[in-house]
């Protein structure tokens, strides 16, 4: 292996330099074309696991009832129930309706009520004409008589109106939806001097998330580049020390993102992390190679031979560190969320590319440079002193170090039970983000912002045409209303109750009491000119009813509790003759979130298994392999425990930490153990001191650069990305501490020649 590698390196640094550089240049130029045009996903479909059964249910739901991604617009006006307020609502409703992509707008200005006429219910506008002399009194009376509009079209204090904007089914045209949302916001801005406007809804959330991804790409990527540049400048204090790692990083990034775009993928909230993560990961091998070159000592004429020897020494640890990092990332591909799979796969591809580019480009570039001077070889005095102190500490107090590490571990483990699954798109955003402000406002003043959808059907396929069917629906509605974060419940019963009141001239809304009345009223609904309302909640063949349970802005954790309760109690209530199927975009998101723990455990187990196997192959020692895992598992448990104590939820972003970090953290361990084994001559303490002082510098530099590089992600628009960046960076520092303290302490305590050494 070594001979082969040396032959290749000699060829590379001699005749191979120009052809290899030309190849890299050509590939880079070609892939740049794709990399600069990576499209951004305009919805959140890649965040959904698309389990076949649930996906089929959701598709069926969308086909039966249309788009479930309504926009919710609120208008706050001090005199809403006045001719002025109504004319404003009429104008907003009309202008919204005229926008391309809008199917219908429901507001107070066009809402209808059913009143009792000679032959039963008669359809009338809810509010009187603005010129009505008793406008305010009549309006108040109409709203009292139709309480189902409260929370949906008007707030309890009658100062905020809600407008429900139903969109045309544009699942395949997310850019059109985004344009529509821009137009809605322009409309809101043009009327801002007349009232206070807020806008939310799943469509707005998805559209804004796409905007934030683009913003993050524009901000974080240059920031990572600057951070890396500064770190490299501080550490290496030379132009080549800055340019070479940055060049390999840039090329690796271009290749990875070019391939990502070439494969037809779009950036989503998770893969928006890909560029900064690849940039940070790609720098590691260059640092080790450049640091190795800095330590070359000899005549300048021998620089190629010395360089070949150095690269040959570093080749195996660099290969295995790249391999373990890639394997850790590859383990994410078993996730059920496509975005996580894409991230894992392409981050791994990026790491392998960076290994190949670093091992090619850095030696070629260094072959043109004269050997560095003594100043570079010795490095910073403070760093040298720190490493010497650490080395002495590990040799003198190995048990104390292990004890402290275990104590910290114990504290962290206590935080594990506090960890909970929770995905809340709005909570992911900064509190001052316009979407977060708007959503909170609408949530506080109207009827919640997220809808859990349920489909009710008879198992025998018969229509829901008996009064017993509707009594069960009524009971299910009542059950849903009593759940804690439920703001409102909508179903065909809202319409049926109002219709029955008007038909029977009853005082309050109620359901038909016998099958004939029910059938008659269902027939009336089915033959009404305007089918919009009933078709949203009951299919024309009466086989499927929809119940929309609107929740306040809560995360997937609370929503999952409500869903479970409703499903359990609902299935008992409906009995064995009915299907009760939960579905909808929000339900899909909750399901995905609740799969995270299982996904995380699977990915983490797989990554540990693969990393262990790689280390075993590399070191060919079971004892060292087990020891190698100790300094890597400990910081991850610290990080997870910290998440529990700090109330950081397990979400799509934070669930990836374990699998990403294990592959990265183990890099330092590999470098440490490979060096330790090479210089070990029977006395562990000597080998530990030598390894810590000699490799510690490169390990510290690489870990610091990685950690600070990750911390640049703290400027993201999404909290999970911020947590991910903070925790990965922190865990890498933790892993470095464990590699320089816990691992040597373990080696001292577990070395067979320990007594002899003393």
């Amino acid at each position: 292996m070594s001979t082969l590698a040396k032959k290749y390196l000699h060829w590379l640094l001699d005749r191979g330099r120009y052809p290899v550089l030309a190849c890299i240049l050509l590939i880079t130029a070609a892939l740049t074309l794709f990399a600069i045009n990576v499209p951004v996903e305009q919805d959140t479909r890649s965040m959904s696991a698309r389990q076949p059964e649930q996906f089929a249910d959701h598709e069926r739901f969308l086909n039966l009832f249309g788009n479930d991604e309504d926009l919710l617009l609120s208008v706050t006006h001090p005199q809403l129930l006045s001719p002025t307020g109504l004319s404003l609502l009429t104008e907003v409703t009309r202008r919204l309706t005229n926008l391309a992509g809008v199917q219908r707008v429901l507001s107070l200005s066009n809402a209808r009520q059913l009143v009792t006429g000679r032959y039963g219910a008669e359809d009338r506008p809810l509010l009187p004409q603005p010129d009505d002399t008793d406008f305010a009194i009549t309006s108040q009376a109409a709203l009292r008589a139709n309480p189902e509009y409260e929370g949906l079209l008007i707030s309890a204090d009658h100062k905020t109106a809600g407008l429900v904007v139903t969109l045309q089914d544009q699942r395949s045209k997310p850019t059109q939806r985004r344009r529509l949302i821009v137009e809605v916001r322009e409309l809101m801005a043009s009327l801002a001097n007349r009232a206070e406007f807020h806008l939310t809804g799943v469509g707005v959330q998805q559209s804004d998330v796409a905007g934030y991804i683009q913003r993050d790409q524009q901000v974080i990527l240059p920031l990572v580049a600057v951070v890396l540049m500064v770190m490299l400048a501080v550490i290496f204090r030379s132009v080549s020390g800055i340019l070479l790692p940055l060049l390999t990083t840039s090329i690796s990034l271009i290749w990875t993102m070019g391939l990502y775009a070439l494969c037809g993928f779009e950036l989503n909230t998770i893969t928006s992390l890909l560029s900064p993560v690849v940039m940070v990961l790609a720098v590691s091998n260059s640092i080790h190679l450049y640091n190795g070159w800095l330590h070359l000592d000899g005549a300048d004429d021998d620089r190629i031979a010395l360089l070949v020897d150095k690269v040959d020494v570093l080749l195996i640890p660099c290969l295995f560190t790249a391999l373990t990092t890639a394997l850790g990332l590859i383990s994410l591909t078993i996730s059920s969320v496509p975005a996580v799979r894409q991230f894992g796969l392409f981050a791994a591809v990026g790491v392998i590319i960076s290994f190949l580019v670093s091992l090619t480009l850095v030696p070629v570039a260094l072959s043109y440079l004269p050997l560095p001077g003594r100043r570079y070889r010795e490095g910073l005095g403070l760093l040298r002193w720190t490493l010497q102190t650490i080395a002495n500490l590990t040799v003198q107090h190995p048990r104390a170090i292990i004890l402290v590490a275990m104590l910290l571990l114990g504290v962290s483990v206590a935080g594990l039970p506090k960890l909970q699954n929770n995905t809340a798109l709005i909570a992911f955003l900064h509190t001052d983000a316009p979407l977060a402000i708007d959503t909170r406002y609408i949530d506080e003043h109207l009827s919640g912002v997220n809808a859990l959808e349920f489909m009710v059907e008879k198992r025998d396929g018969q229509p829901l045409a008996g009064s017993v069917d509707y009594a069960k629906l009524d009971a299910f509605e009542a059950l849903a209303r009593h759940q804690q974060p439920v703001a409102n419940v909508f179903s065909i019963l809202n319409l049926l109750r109002r219709l029955h009141r008007a038909e029977s001239d009853a005082g309050s809304p109620s359901l038909p009491t016998n099958d004939d009345e029910l059938r008659y009223e269902l027939d009336l609904l089915s033959m009404a000119e305007d089918q919009h309302m009933q078709s949203r909640f009951l299919t024309s063949d009466l086989q499927t009813a929809r119940v929309s349970v609107w929740l306040h802005d809560v995360g997937s954790h609370s929503a999952a509790v409500v869903t479970d309760n409703l499903l359990k109690q609902g299935r008992i209530l409906f009995g064995p003759d009915y299907w009760l199927t939960p579905t909808g975009s929000f339900y899909q998101m909750n399901l995905d979130s609740n799969r995270l723990v299982v996904d995380m455990v699977k990915s983490f187990s797989l990554s540990i298994g693969l990393v262990l196997l790689s280390i075993l192959i590399l070191l060919r020692s079971l004892r060292l392999t087990v020891l190698a895992m100790i300094p890597n598992v400990i910081p991850i448990l610290w990080a997870v425990g910290l998440m529990g104590f700090c109330g950081i939820d397990l979400s799509t972003g934070t669930a990836m930490i374990g699998a990403v970090v294990i592959g990265l953290a183990v890099d330092d361990t590999i470098h440490y153990l490979v060096h330790y084994r090479r210089i070990y001559a029977g006395v562990a303490s000597e080998a530990v001191i030598a390894t810590t002082t000699q490799t510690g510098r490169a390990l510290m530099i690489a870990s610091l650069v990685l950690a600070v590089g990750f911390w640049a992600g703290c400027f993201s628009s999404f909290k999970p990305t911020i947590y991910f960046s903070l925790l990965v960076g922190g865990t890498l520092i933790g892993a470095l501490i464990c590699d320089l303290l816990v691992l040597p302490a373990c080696l001292i305590l577990n070395c067979p020649t320990r007594k002899e050494a003393r």
Binding site: R118, Y119, D516, Y520, L524, M527
Partner: protein
Amino acid sequence: MRIVMIIWIVVSCLAVWPVAAQELEVRYAEQLDWTKDRIVKSVVVPSVEQPQGEVQLIQRRDLLVVQTLLSSRILKRVVAVIDAKESRRWPEEHQGYADSNHYLEELFRATEKSWEAFRQRSDRNQEHQTLAIEFILGPKQSLIALSLPQLREDDGSLRLIGKQPLKIWRGADDYVRANIVEIIKDSFHLDDTATEKLLKPLWPGRKSTSLD
């Protein structure tokens, strides 16, 4: 004493009503006899896609009959549409307003009876409520009859197989004639000329269908 009188009047009225209906049925038996009807033209209303009944132009011996057979799951709504059209056709200031008003009152009551009959039906698979409205124009007198029909569907067309009269009364000739013309025009989507051409040969002892 006054209460006893009121009860006596109410009971008497209730007792007399079926007798009165039967008496009318007997009196107008010839005009109501549908067994020899010749259907000149018929149309499904309001449309074949949403059939709620059928308007039939009938020659019954020397009588001209426009019979509306309603068979609908939403009979009240269908009658409400008829009510709305009738009200528009005969505004308060119009000469036929009183006849129209009388007709609408009787129509409302007949609809209620049809609903009650539907509620008490023996065949629970029967989903349609029914009502028959006849405008009968004869050479001497004009009648309006409301009844509960028994219907059979035959090749997409409704066939009367029996009927239970609910109310029969004499209407003003002009009112009945004008309503026949309007119903034919509206149901068959005909203009004045086509309507006249259709009705002229059937007109009992009259030369024109015009209202003047």
